[in-house]
Structure formats: structure tokens, C-alpha cells
């Protein structure tokens, strides 16, 4: 099989330019959509018949929880590509995804606690969903820590990739925990087919928030991957040219 197209796509300078062009659009669109989603969620959506206004926490909790799982899959897939094809870009994407994913996992946990206290009656319980989501945070932290512990970026990336792939087993556990086990956490609202789980005027801000969060995460990952490539390629011509170009402008201003 011929993989040259794959390597061309993964060439650091061309990815750097591509990310630089795409990221502002993702960021701008994501922010606008998030502003709509939060406004609609806080102001336009009616209160829930049971949870009243406390249910509005769903508009920050569910997008955070959704990206916490999606980004882990992205990180592990990038890790596998980095292991198999020894591709620098995949290493950069994997390393860039970890802090973004960790931050949203932490957000999902904290907003979940703030939702659990008034509704369930407890900030935290050790049921399958909450415990496996906490394990997810530890896995992200493990990848970040492991990467920081290596001086050689390429060796570090290989170790991180292995940990990310091993931790992949936790992802279906988080997602299906509420079906496989008795838990205090309720089932999935968004990925539930058939019976309406959430009325349309409550769902719209949720979907907007979900899409916005995916866009903003993509923005952050592209920016972080750019940084990672700058560092790894600092001795190449394209980075030096870029630095003088940008640095020269900054010194004048």
C-alpha cells in the first residue's frame, strides 16, 4: 500500500499553515454558537418539570462530558498512528489533546457535583459512572505527566501513546456504565433513540452547546499542535523563517 499522501498531509509546515487558517474560524464560530447556547439555555429554555432551574446545569455538564470521551478517543487514535507510522504530526496532536481533554473532564466532574448536590442530595457517590469518569481524568493526567517526564520528545510520545491506547478500554465503560450497572447517575439523554427524552425547546440550546464545544476544542487542539510542532521542529528552516517573520514584526511594534 502506498502511504505517500498520508505523509504529505502530515508534513509539519503544511499542517501548521492549514491549522493557522482553520483555527480562527473554528474559534469564532464556536464562541458565537456557545453564546447562543448559553443564552438560550439560561433564558429561553423553560424550567424542567421536576428539577426546575437546576436542570440548566445540563448545558455545561453534557457538552463537557461528551468531549471528555471524544477527545480521549482522538488522543488514543493519534497515539496509535504515531506508534505505527512514527508520524510527528500525530504525536503533536496526541500531546495537544491531553490538556484540553483533561480540562473538560474536570469540568464535567465539577459541574456534575454541583448538579448532584441539589438534585440527588450528594456531591459525590462511588457509582460506576462517576468512578469511571474520575479514572478518565487520571488517564489524561497520566499522559500529561508522562510526556513532561521525558526529555526526548519522541520517546515520551511513544510512552504516552501506549498509555493512551491502554486507557481506551475505559471509554466504553464510562459510556455504558449507566446501562451495565445500577448507578445513581441517569441514562443518556442525547444518545437515546425513540422516546423523546428532552423537549425541543430544551434540546436546541444543548445541541448548540455541544457543537460549540467541539469547535472550541478543535480550535484549542489545532493551536496547541501548532505550538508542539514549533518546539519539535525548532531547528528546521521553516520554523526559523517563521520566527524571524513573526518576531521581526513584534519587535517593530
Amino acid at each position: 500500500m502506498n502511504w505517500t499522501w498520508f505523509h504529505r498531509l502530515g508534513s509539519p509546515p503544511s499542517f501548521y499553515r492549514f491549522a493557522g487558517r482553520l483555527a480562527p474560524w473554528l474559534g469564532g464560530f464556536g464562541l458565537l454558537l456557545l453564546a447562543y447556547g448559553w443564552y438560550a439555555g439560561l433564558v429561553l429554555a423553560p424550567p424542567d418539570y421536576q428539577q426546575k432551574d437546576a436542570f440548566r446545569i445540563i448545558y455545561v455538564h453534557v457538552p463537557a462530558a461528551a468531549v471528555s470521551l471524544s477527545l480521549y478517543v482522538l488522543m488514543a487514535v493519534a497515539g496509535a498512528v504515531a506508534l505505527i507510522w512514527r508520524m510527528k504530526l500525530a504525536e503533536a496532536v496526541m500531546v495537544a489533546t491531553a490538556p484540553v481533554g483533561a480540562s473538560f473532564t474536570a469540568l464535567a466532574l465539577v459541574t456534575g457535583m454541583l448538579w448532584g448536590k441539589p438534585m440527588w442530595g450528594a456531591y459525590w457517590v462511588w457509582d460506576a459512572r462517576l468512578t469511571s469518569e474520575l479514572v478518565l481524568l487520571f488517564l489524561y493526567c497520566g499522559v500529561i505527566g508522562l510526556h513532561a517526564a521525558f526529555d526526548d520528545a519522541r520517546a515520551g510520545a511513544r510512552a504516552c501513546a501506549l498509555l493512551a491506547i491502554v486507557g481506551l478500554v475505559n471509554v466504553p465503560i464510562v459510556h455504558f456504565s449507566v446501562e451495565w450497572w445500577n448507578s445513581l447517575h441517569q441514562g443518556s439523554t442525547v444518545l437515546k433513540f425513540g422516546r423523546p427524552a428532552i423537549s425541543a425547546d430544551m434540546a436546541r440550546p444543548l445541541y448548540a452547546g455541544l457543537l460549540a464545544t467541539y469547535c472550541l476544542c478543535a480550535h484549542a487542539i489545532l493551536r496547541r499542535a501548532q505550538n508542539e510542532l514549533l518546539l519539535r521542529e525548532r531547528n528546521t528552516r521553516w520554523v526559523r523563517e517563521l520566527a524571524t517573520e513573526l518576531g521581526g514584526g513584534a519587535r517593530v511594534s
Binding site: 418539570y49 478500554v169 450497572w181 445513581l184 423523546p196 423537549s199 425547546d201
Partner: protein, 154 residues
């Protein structure tokens, strides 16, 4: 085999091994990861008095009796069996007849005496007007999320 194909096979083997280990682990530990028992578990498989455990189910509609102070008594049911529960303490905001709850406590003479009650709401969200028009919504939650531990383990 080229080096790249070898690495591909190694990663595939790693993922396959992990998946297999996860399936075995899941079958072995499923019972231990259950957050609560259900009335069926207690009624059909007697548990020792004074064994502390969590019990989850729906508060049977029409069974709630308020005693002196904060004392409440009600029936708790899964899809099959039900059990009387007694509790003396502050109830969560969502507590009401028909609601899912998880109580922590122990069996005493056929009554589950709880010292903590948490609400377990479901994944459905709707405005009050819609809830009123739906028969299944208010006061009638699904018993499906309360799975018998003993039946799941077998």
C-alpha cells in the same frame, strides 16, 4: 512483514488483548460494581439483618406516610417486588411518590431502615405543561433502571 506492518500488528494485538481482558473483568466484577440492590434481591434472596447496603427503587404511588417530625414510611418497588422503607431525616428536593431513590441502611424485621436517601432522577427533561399532558411522565417513572443484582450476576 515490514517494520511498519509489525508495529501495526503489535498495536492491534494490544487493543485485542485489552478488549478481551475487559470482557473477562466485566463478567467477573459486574456484581461488585452495582451501586445498589433492588427490592427483588432482598425479597427473593434474604440478606442478613444488620448488613448495611444500598437499596434502589421507585417510591410506590399512594404509599407515603409521614409520621412525627421528619419520620417517613413508604413502599419501594422495582419492576417485580416491593419492600417497606422507614427513614428519619432530610429528604432531597426531588423526593416524591413515583420518584426513583437510593436509600442506604439495613433490614430490620422485614423493614428497610434507612439513614440516607438520595434521589435518582431519569434522563427525561420537559417543561411542566408537557409533563402534565403526558401520563407516563409525572409521578410515573420507569422501573427499568433498577436492575436486580442477583439476576444480573447469574
Amino acid at each position: 512483514m515490514t517494520k511498519r506492518q509489525k508495529r501495526m500488528a503489535a498495536v492491534a494485538a494490544l487493543v485485542a488483548g485489552l478488549a478481551l481482558a475487559a470482557v473477562f473483568g466485566f463478567t467477573a466484577f459486574r456484581k461488585n460494581m452495582m451501586y445498589f440492590y433492588t427490592p427483588t434481591d432482598i425479597v427473593e434472596h434474604k440478606v442478613a439483618d444488620n448488613a448495611r447496603l444500598r437499596l434502589g427503587g421507585l417510591v410506590t404511588v399512594g404509599s407515603l406516610k409521614r409520621g412525627e417530625g421528619l419520620n417517613v414510611e413508604f413502599m419501594l418497588a422495582d419492576c417485580e417486588k416491593s419492600l417497606p422503607v422507614r427513614y428519619d431525616g432530610i429528604l432531597p428536593d426531588l423526593f416524591r411518590e413515583g420518584q426513583g431513590i437510593v436509600a442506604t441502611g439495613q433490614m430490620k424485621d422485614g423493614v428497610f431502615v434507612a439513614d440516607e436517601v438520595l434521589a435518582k432522577h431519569d434522563e427525561n427533561y420537559m417543561p411542566p405543561e408537557l409533563a402534565k399532558s403526558l401520563k407516563t411522565a409525572d409521578g410515573q417513572h420507569s422501573c427499568a433502571p433498577f436492575k436486580s443484582v442477583m439476576q444480573a450476576a447469574s
